[in-house]
């Protein structure tokens, strides 16, 4: 028999060989495998497999208990955790320093106050400026005219 003819006959479909194979080969995927593959695909996609639901419930119960404990015992712990006064003052000084304007900006503000006729406020600001920057060279003419030369 010519094997080429065998192949052609077989490829036409519905050969005796194919029919027999379909009768004999009936193995199906075990359900355990279905669960594993579909579960893994869900996890890969960001979902949670069904068997994690009880764990999620237990985790939420634990979280609730922890919140209740924090509310009941929380204030004492907060009091104990308050920083010492000297630490607070040091922090305040750092904050004030951060709020201090740069000399050129501060002097420009003073000049603006003078030009606006708010002389008293301008003088107060100038005193604060000199206490903050005692060595900063500044001329009265500059303060009067508002032309500030930045000496920084």
């Amino acid at each position: 028999m010519d094997p080429h003819d065998d192949l052609e006959e077989y490829l036409r479909g519905d050969s005796a060989l194919s029919r027999q194979y379909r009768r004999d080969a009936a193995a199906a995927t075990p359900h355990a495998l279905d669960r594993r593959v579909l579960g893994a695909a869900r996890v890969a996609q960001g979902g949670r497999p069904a068997y994690l639901a009880p764990l999620a419930f237990a985790a939420s119960v634990l979280l609730s208990v922890a919140l209740v404990l924090a509310i009941v015992f929380g204030p004492q712990r907060t009091k104990r955790a308050e920083p010492a006064p000297h630490v607070v003052h040091a922090a305040a000084r750092v904050m004030d320093a951060a709020r201090v304007r740069a000399p050129s900006v501060w002097l420009a503000d003073i000049a603006s106050l003078r030009r606006a006729g708010r002389t008293q406020e301008a003088d107060t600001e100038l005193l604060r400026f000199r206490s903050t920057y005692p060595n900063y060279p500044i001329t009265e003419n500059a303060l009067a005219t508002g032309v500030i030369v930045d000496n920084e």
Partner: protein, 197 residues
């Protein structure tokens, strides 16, 4: 490929994040894939491992999927690669894998010996026994056609071989398997056991 087939459309939906599309794809291909792997490695445990590996690879590479060919070609190409890796991991099987199609029947690999076959409980017909005796390249060509309906060209693409090689493997498989369809001799008649009271 002109337009994506239904499977390819499902795979594209899955690529975009539709989990139901994956479940549908899985349902359509799981049994042919499982039988292909089971008959290739002839060990239920190994087939189960490979089965999971194939789907894992599909899941892992879903973002790169493009419908360039029939989806079954894509899926079974992954399966083919997984089974090749499996055979390479098995020293005896590797010898069989590289055997020429004209070579005599290969030595039975260790994982196919009776102790490794404990889980392979499906009743073996003469045809399935003959299928198991084929060199696995021939067996694979036959399984790809039977389980997925792939054409010779598509089988060649899955197996990474020239079309003529795929055709040759399928031809030899058919010749050998057809012999198993010949009627077996009738078993000897056994005398009836009689009981006297």
């Amino acid at each position: 490929m002109d337009a994506p087939d239904e499977d390819a459309r499902l795979m594209l939906r899955y690529r975009e994040g539709d989990g139901h599309a994956f479940a549908a794809l899985y349902a359509r291909h799981k049994d042919p894939l499982y039988r292909y792997l089971l008959r290739q490695v002839r060990n239920a445990g190994a087939a189960a491992d490979l089965f999971q590996e194939v789907w894992s690879r599909l899941v892992a590479t879903r973002a790169r999927y493009e419908p360039r060919a029939k989806f079954a070609t894509y899926l079974f190409h992954i399966a083919h690669n997984c089974s090749i890796d499996f055979f390479r991991r098995n020293r005896h099987a590797a010898r069989s894998h590289h055997a020429d199609v004209h070579s005599p029947e290969p030595e039975v690999p260790e994982y196919q010996r009776p102790d490794g076959m404990a889980e392979f409980v499906e009743q073996q017909s003469a045809l399935l026994a003959a299928l198991g005796d084929l060199p696995h390249e021939q067996r694979e060509a036959f399984l790809l056609h039977e389980e997925t309906g792939l054409t010779i060209d598509e089988i060649a693409r899955v197996m990474d071989v020239p079309v003529e090689t795929a055709k040759s493997r399928l031809r030899y498989a058919i010749r050998k398997l057809k012999k198993s369809l010949l009627p077996a001799p009738l078993p000897d008649a056994r005398p009836l056991r009689t009981r006297t009271i």
